[in-house]
Symmetry: D2
């Protein structure tokens, strides 16, 4: 009997998929990753067996997700379309990696995911599977059966698969410690204001406290290591900041984005912790990166972001981009003071032993050490191409050359 | 007697410069532009004559500034270092242009500015002068005399040049309708929180009203034309939004930036109107620009931004970049609804006759018109290079090829 | 009866396609474009009718192809993967455009092409059809029938479709006035030297004459207008240079390229005229474009090249990129002298009324007008970030900060 | 007595500089690097002492130059302005590094170079000095004394400094193993054909042998290691190829380039060995790099090239770019066959254990393993944005929306 490892979430789609795959002749190994959704996954392990899996794994991947994926997003400032720093795109390659590992360990010849045919995640899963083990068969039961909601429920009822009570929620949600993505329902109307119940990690600005929290985050080589002087491992730092910043309404995003599969879709994101960390990290880079590096890094960041969004995490290009990014973080050391208040994470101050901001050069007081005379020569040479162009082409204009 | 046209602000530096230039043997024509500082400039015209100018011009350049410069910043999303959308860099080329025009009209052989030797503005002025008329002599009296504050005041007192009463303000400010820039004083310490008196156009979030304003902005080919259904010319739209958004505390920026002249400096900006317009314009592009255009336009924007920041407005490259940007705006038509509240300008909804967001393609309801089967073929070819790479290079790894 | 307009080449595939489409119930309108293959197409018009078409068009599109497509390649330096300046990718959108026009004129409801399922051209055709008239049905008979060569020949014989005599040529060729592309056969082995019979437009260097031709090409706003003083329209200039440069063995390319559909393929190109024009045009830009423009234009060129290669000619992005390119050509006026010899097109000299090369600035003779002292100030400010970085980060290294 | 380390070439300028620095009160340590000019430097060591140096060093830096600098140019494809792969820009940082090392060893407090005020090399030297040891004083005697040729000769004669016999050569030459740069004299006229005596490493195509040499180069992780099966260290491989390819007239470049200091200058380069290696390396990448990497690497290469050209070798940005490049070379293994003939280095074949070219996917024979049906789905999703754009914006055009 062929064996398949399925990315299992505990929801209706993947529960039905277990049964459906079984009926196609597969022994199903369910695998559910904890990437920081912030809720207990214990019951999921049991549920998988209940609905027909032969084995069921729950894997705590929070640290691996934080250290290898969220950190890359943080240091690479992966703001897709300048709006959101990736959420699902970061967890998919890790889930794929774990599924392939379990397949290789359990002797499965196939892997499966529960995505439909119009999202980005199917691409991310399948490209990752191929990259990691091109010999594995890839199954996409939900895309393949192509049932309506009603047909799926009927199938589930006939086979005693439990129907979740929140099934009539209009929203489709994916969450990990780096953020929460929400789509569908009223959100599909781009003119409609997202309703409050579309949000879960953040309060509305209207409901945020009237007193600010002021925090200090310390970075060592681009990695946030301390919050208000206390050491955290990264996964816990992010979760702590999700709570703290979420309470102040920080990190809501409403974005109409271009999917890889050719359509625009509207998504609502909440990224309280990621918002704070990305903001603080950028400010620390502003004082520690030399100008030419600060001006080119965004080019690399854009490529990295689109690559990850498009599901090409396991590309040699990602490794090369990552080598660039890692090299830039050597001097990103220091402390950033952030005020959390009414939906804002405002950086108030930043300091670093590697700061390239030099008060004696920048000041307009008598301590000024900048050589003002140098400017004359600088401007002359910097402006020389413009001047020659003006002499030649304005003159030729006058001469009627053109 | 040689004649020079001086960019005159009415402040101490340029007042002293009039006298100093006179003593160098120049007849000084003072020229002051109204680019939307929001205060009356009438007294400045008289003051220039008072302190020794032979002629004095006040030019209302608000519309030209809005239509040719601020609009380019708006449509080009000119966020320098992803933080602020340019303020002084936008007005300098226009001021230079007017000075050159007046020099050519009045028969002056020189132009002059009041910048010191360590800022960006000296470069922007001088490169612009060279680009527009390379035959004009360029003078930079403040940079040249290189006096301390005390020496300058003594010189002024000896010659009866009035000393401004706010002379002991620690800040150095430049303002136009697109924003207000502030540097110096306590701001030179990057760890210090900017004090409230560093701000003028915006209230603190703490002092913002508890009731939101919800506004609708209509764009035609990328130009904002109506606010809540009422037509505005652009300069007045920006000023109106400065008031409205400033009241809600929208548009404060605290940035440590890389200057062209090789140093990092800390600046505080306020851009209430620009913030609202840039945010709304981007959202309208998100639904009206086709994906490949949306993904390449930021590359052009970055180049445009750095070019303008560096003072190369009158470069043939700016004209080519502008031709690109203008071409992209044809379909940027529609309406954006923005909520102003507690320092936020949040887009709640957007609609357009040219919207490429297609609810029937995006939806997960039964109205779905997306062909889910196409995804299988798409993923196969999109993922083919990754798969081949995996087959070849994982295999060769196993074979020890390396 | 439904009507379809088919891109007809006169070869076996599209001749069989006429019959096959007819059997599917379509009236077939054949359409063949002359884009400068350099051979007579007269017999093709008749042949289409012979094998079953109801109407047959031959369109002389050489000038439109030269002026709108080849010129964009020339001015945009569209070297795909730094190796070849596009050949088929330039003609496909024009063919698609003509097919759609004829479909609209003749009341056809479908368009068809003869591409297989693994090339780029199917994508270019179909995306262009969709862009120009999304209501038209798109048919791809050759891809759909998926016959082996033998099955196709048998089908043809049964229906009296003439079998071309050169059917056993191992190569698959596409040609227009901008170049000739060749693939298949022995070329599929990347270690094999391309045999001489893979080439048609160029002689081998071994067979090139021992006497050079030295020619002068004059450009007006980036358009080549005169060859050795004689005016040419662009299409004829290219064809003339194909002959002249081909005789000297100029313009052979052997390239392993990345197709859009996910595979690498090996192609042999011949572009004698294009090679000469692209070389000369670049040299003229080298003296007429101001530095910052010369350094950014390649970024736009790369995007334009990949966009066209990928079949997105009719994208709003192409229009915006073209607006950029056109704006840059204003000052690209002048004359370039080129030596054609033994496979080389070497630029020996270039001159322009808009030349920004200034001998008095560049010279090391006593005519030197460059201000050597300016360099001191320039270097001080240009090198300042490096110096500050060195002071801070070398010192902190010594202090053990890290 | 203060001590200065001078970059000494043995020519008139730096010989005079020794004497001049001495008269300014410095003890001069002469330092001459062998970076592969291909001539003996033995006499230079003695000459320095003869004309007044207190110490004189000759350093064989050929291997360090090849392994750390030329190799970066090779793997980074550093074609400045798409024309030449850098020559002097590669050696300057290494010379600066050695000078600083000797200064630190010998207790010197200053370093000096012999550049004038209008070239790029002064910038490259001084920025490198600052980067490596910002405490060292930097002297530029030739720029400072600003003498005419006649004044310099008179000064030399008075002090018994030997006048070189080739002093009336019109050319100014710099050479290392990666290439030879030549400027000045008749070359300053961009319309003039460079005379034969401007070249030294290469023969004219007219004088090239009638028999080709066909060579095979083997690369391991992007490093050329074998030539025709024989192992070479890199420096010797380059020198060997200089001879071999120079004999066939390969690698002449005539370029009008944009200098960092704001002027255009015309340079003639010869790079026989570099030309062959760069050509072969690119071809090997064409079969071993996955598409998305092959398409982004040129962006990194362009930045790396301009950075090195501009003298910023010792920037943290170069280290980050290099980290990217190094990561890409892991799979660049294999062999390239090159034909050297009449000025050409034509790649005839390439093979690699890591080749991603898959004949079974690329072929049009019956061995074809490509899934032709996948194309239908691929095109549908790839073309979807274009189609939606067409439906929306062509329709709205008809409706008069715009």
């Amino acid at each position: 009997m062929k064996k398949v490892v399925l990315a299992y979430s505990g929801g209706l789609d993947t529960s039905v998929a277990i049964q459906w795959l079984k009926e196609q002749g597969y022994a199903v190994v369910a695998c559910c990753l904890d990437v920081g959704e912030g809720k207990s996954l214990d019951h999921i392990q049991a549920k998988a067996l209940e609905v027909g899996a032969v084995e069921s794994y729950i894997i705590d991947a929070k640290d691996e997700f934080a250290d290898d994926y969220a950190l890359m997003s943080l240091q690479g400032h992966t703001w897709y379309e300048q709006k959101y720093p990736l959420v699902s795109a970061l967890s998919r390659p890790l889930i794929a990696k774990k599924l392939v590992e379990i397949a290789e360990e359990t002797g499965a010849t196939a892997v499966a995911h529960g995505c439909t045919g119009k999202g980005n995640d199917q691409v991310r899963f399948e490209v990752s599977f191929n990259a990691l083990n091109p010999d594995l068969e890839v199954l996409a039961p939900v895309r393949e059966w192509a049932w309506s909601r009603e047909e799926e429920i009927e199938y589930a009822k006939e086979r005693n698969i439990p129907i979740p009570i929140n099934l009539d929620s209009p929203f489709s949600i994916d969450q990990n410690l780096w953020g929460r993505a929400n789509e569908c329902g009223i959100l599909e109307d781009p003119w409609a204001t997202p309703p409050e119940d579309a949000y879960d990690l953040t309060v509305a600005v209207e409901d945020a406290p009237d007193t600010a929290d002021i925090i200090e985050i310390e970075f060592v080589e681009g990695v946030p290591t301390k919050l208000d002087g206390k050491e955290y491992k990264l996964s816990e730092m992010i979760l702590e900041l999700n709570t703290l910043a979420g309470k102040h309404g920080v990190g809501r995003i409403d974005h109409i984005e271009n999917r890889l599969v050719g359509i625009k879709s509207r998504e609502v994101y909440e990224i309280p912790g990621a918002h704070v960390l990305l903001t603080a990290h950028k400010e620390l880079e502003d004082i520690t990166l030399v100008k030419e590096l600060a001006h080119f890094k965004p080019v690399v960041e854009k490529q990295l972001t689109e690559l990850i969004y498009n599901g090409l995490w396991f590309s040699p290009l990602r490794e090369a981009l990552q080598a660039f990014i890692k090299e830039t973080q050597k001097f990103v050391n220091g402390t950033v003071r952030v005020k959390l208040f009414k939906g804002h994470a405002v950086v108030q101050g930043r300091k670093s032993p590697n700061s390239l901001y030099d008060e004696k050069l920048a000041t307009y007081t008598k301590d000024d050490e900048f050589n003002h005379n140098s400017a004359v020569g600088f401007i002359e040479l910097f402006g020389l191409p413009t001047k020659v162009n003006s002499i030649i082409n304005n003159n030729s204009k006058k001469d009627g050359v053109k």
